[in-house]
Symmetry: D2
Subunit: 316 residues, 4 copies
């Protein structure tokens, strides 16, 4: 009884203390955001949090739920956003009721969404005009990395701003890479994911071909993994059911990195390539393949389901 009382008292004090000092706002509490916030909390932060779905904020134990953009931003020195796409990022940061209208001068807004370099640069420019610092910091690692706190942040913007925020980012991830000027984080992420999408399809094509010609997929994987065909798609995230455990292909392609998300990233890469006339023939074709798969009802499956698609198999 006494013990409980003490615990409650301590908790109250801690909350009061943190509330006074909390200067991190986190906006966007979906699959990724909620997990990232949980890791901030585990590492001693007490962020103010907000989502357009009010329940999302209230369900995060240890955070300070806010019911409006205005409330979450008020008094925060660091505002982190994790949102579905560039349009929502622009509405949230640049809109008439947006963050830039509310946040204190010289605050740091850090966006972890994947939105492409053009939008990131547009937001950076608007922030600069408002005397607000901005970093684009998209992540790799997906829901699994967000849960485990092992995300990799690819950061574009001022190096010193990146250095300043690095300790907080390391509460949620294991790597912070400064990639260059504003937008560079976005570019780096899209380049990586472009390779990822292409390589996964190439790997799936070869595995399907080999298996249909009678080669054991485990043996084929073993050979590829010590040969020039080796990649993350073959040695860490193999698309053939039965070759590896604890990957989406072992679990009917549930979880992981969805077809619609890789399609989104390849679309953003295509936009980025368009402006500078950089040919991306295989990425363009990969984009089309993933979009065709969406048409065939596979939007929510892990993108390694391309193996099943090439096989001509029904996936439920």
């Amino acid at each position: 009884m006494l013990r409980n009382s003490i615990r409650v008292l301590l908790q109250v004090e801690k909350n009061v203390h943190t509330r006074q000092n909390s200067n991190i706002a986190f906006i966007g509490l979906g699959q990724m955001g909620a997990r990232m916030v949980n890791n901030l909390i585990k590492n001693g932060e007490k962020p103010k949090v907000y989502d357009v779905v009010p329940e999302a904020a209230k369900s995060l134990k240890g955070a300070i739920p806010c019911s409006s953009l205005e409330e979450v931003v008020d008094g925060s020195k660091i505002v982190i956003t994790m949102l579905p796409n560039g349009k929502i990022v622009k509405d949230t940061i640049l809109g008439e009721q947006g963050i830039l209208k509310r946040v204190a001068k010289n605050s740091l807004v850090l966006d972890c969404s994947t939105i492409g370099p053009q939008v990131a640069q547009e937001v950076f420019n608007a922030a600069q005009e408002s005397n607000v610092r901005f970093l684009d910091a998209p992540v790799s690692g997906g829901v699994v990395g967000a849960q485990a706190g092992t995300l990799c942040f690819m950061v574009g913007g001022a190096k010193k701003d990146c250095d300043e925020v690095e300790p907080i980012l390391l509460h949620m991830g294991k790597k912070v890479l400064h990639c260059g000027k504003p937008g560079a984080g976005q570019i780096t992420k899209l380049c990586n994911n472009l390779i990822l999408g292409v390589t996964m399809i190439g790997t799936a094509e070869a595995m399907n071909l080999g298996v249909k010609l009678g080669i054991d997929p485990k043996l084929l994987t073993d050979v590829v993994n010590i040969s020039t065909g080796r990649s993350w798609s073959s040695d860490t995230y193999n698309p053939v059911p039965g070759v590896m455990e604890n990957v989406p292909s072992a679990n009917n392609y549930e979880g992981g990195f969805s077809v619609e998300l890789i399609a989104k990233d390849l679309g953003l890469a295509g936009d980025a390539a368009l402006g500078i006339n950089a040919p991306i023939p295989l990425a363009a074709m990969s984009h089309q393949l993933f979009r065709t798969m969406i048409t065939y009802g596979l939007a929510k499956k892990d993108f390694s389901v391309i193996y099943k698609y090439l096989e001509g198999a029904k996936v439920q």
Copy 2:
């Protein structure tokens, strides 16, 4: 002095011994074959050798040059072939003056050429009818691996035949992988190289995109190599000049694995896929890209020159 004399005597005796007992014939002494023979010799073998170009056989110190197929095969228990394509393999093994007509019953013919599974199976069947054992054993590692004796042999055919010949293969390489039934070595190699061709192009697309958008290629490589875009093409054989040393991109794309050879392998993969209706969309597009590059005079360059091709740059 005594020591030298003894060494010479031993050497003489060894040569005599080997000459009497030499039972390895090696046919096809091009870029690959000559280097493979040298490694056989270094490891104490004294193979009989033959090539349609007579000088090729005579220039190999330590081998027994022969001037005809008949001569090289005569008395050999193991016949190794390393030839440019399936047509020449068929002519050499199945032809009217071919190996099967000359070789002793129960001999072992091992073909290291890349010829596709259909031709390999055809040769296997013909060999079987002649009571000759046959293995398809294409290699990975290229000219560099042939020189260093670090090739990887992918073997299709009877496991016991593969085991029997393994010690000899390990004189020329570091790995012998039994992949399955006749043709399985070919299938495995083509599957690996299919992934290789696709992944290299995807990597080059992303690197060109990133560089044109202002990202440092070394930094981009570093990020990719610890991320999901990682592959042999990015971490071992990077296509961007200046990122790595001792790779073709550091040497104006000289040496290495030529555009025409990856195009050949993708063509064979396409043939293999055709028979069983396995879709290979990215491999087919990669095949077209490499073929277009041949049209643009890049046939002999290393295949990582795709980076320069996408860049729109002239390569001399």
Copy 3:
């Protein structure tokens, strides 16, 4: 009256004459061959006919059924073949019991199958060595054209041989085009069908895009047909159900030119392109798309079913 009587008499005499002298052999009585033979008969010929399925020959009223290659070829001056693929053509013409072994010197063998230029040239060379004349004469027009006698013959080989056989071909078709040297008929057909496959897919992509964006498909077709997007695929064989009558899209994609046949032709075009390093990027991608559709159970549907495939719709 007199005139009519004379005409009848002449007709009778012609029939009698032809019957006695029938010197046409026709081999291969499938969907195409049987219809072609019927048109020969309608036009007064009395061909000897043979198929590996004996019933096929017996069911053709007005023809002389034969039960072996030997029998059908015996005494024939003109041998027409219409077979499924190059392998069967080679077996039938070049095989140990094949046509070249049986046919009289200076006879004319005319192959209407689609087999690619390499095989056609191979057969031509073998025929020449046997002092037999050979023409490759693949057709366009499909089953509908075979039925109606409106086929177009694309002929490779000696011009005078083409002229000689033209009257007979015009019994089965409406056009005979001499395209050049041996194999030229095959090349011409493959080039046409390459364009056809690509154009149909492009048309289907645009129609699906327009319809999904709310444009009426008939209106869109009308605009395209008076604009630069006009083609046979839009103005004669539109792939969208409801736009035209009497085309496969109006009949659940039954009949017409099957997915597996266009895939076969694109494969042959790919083989032909390979030898001379001609890039065919869209044809290669089209080939892959049609092959993927085969994997999805659409092999027997008309190739305009690509519209439904892109739509993501189930086709039964």
Copy 4:
């Protein structure tokens, strides 16, 4: 002297008179716009004209040159725009000094630029809020059609607005097609040009393949044009030099429809497809090919230069 005075007086009066009655404003006097204005004048109109390059307006005899957007729009009931891209259209119509700010209520703004459906709909909505009527009316026919007054207008928006403006459009073209709701003109044009880009490349692939295999290009064209491969690209705008006169391929690919414009349209088609997940695999690949050609210095050449690109030939 007297003569000059009279001329000046007459000129003044004429200007006053026309200024009072002219109610067509034309904005954008580039390659297309200037020619369209000339046809308006030839047919009795006296439009007020404006371009950001002042000389462009002054050089058009019979038009009323204006030196600002404000001046050209003032008093006009119909405002026609012909501009390079969607961004400029938005700046010109929606900008702070833009047309919607200046034009009288119930005026009709008609945009002939190719800008994609999304931008067209955005502009339509803004116009509606300003009580201004808007039509998207992109054209086909190119510079040649603009010169000859044979353009085809594809119109999206209210049918009655389309009917009202049709007589004026027929001064500049020969066809006015009402395609549907706002944006429908854009969609229709992009669908047509998607087919055009794909079909031209397919035709060029086949022609290059056939020619390299020894077929005469005129003969091949003749066969295709009576067969299923027939299209505008083969029968009206053949890409092979020497087959037709008065087409860009007969004139070193000068004039016509440039590579960068078809690439632009395919990019807009890709954007339109993205929103609704319509797969456009061949259009995406065609887009990549044309963009690669831009990288190789062919941006300003007619798009049929794809034939030369596939051939591997240098084009100056």
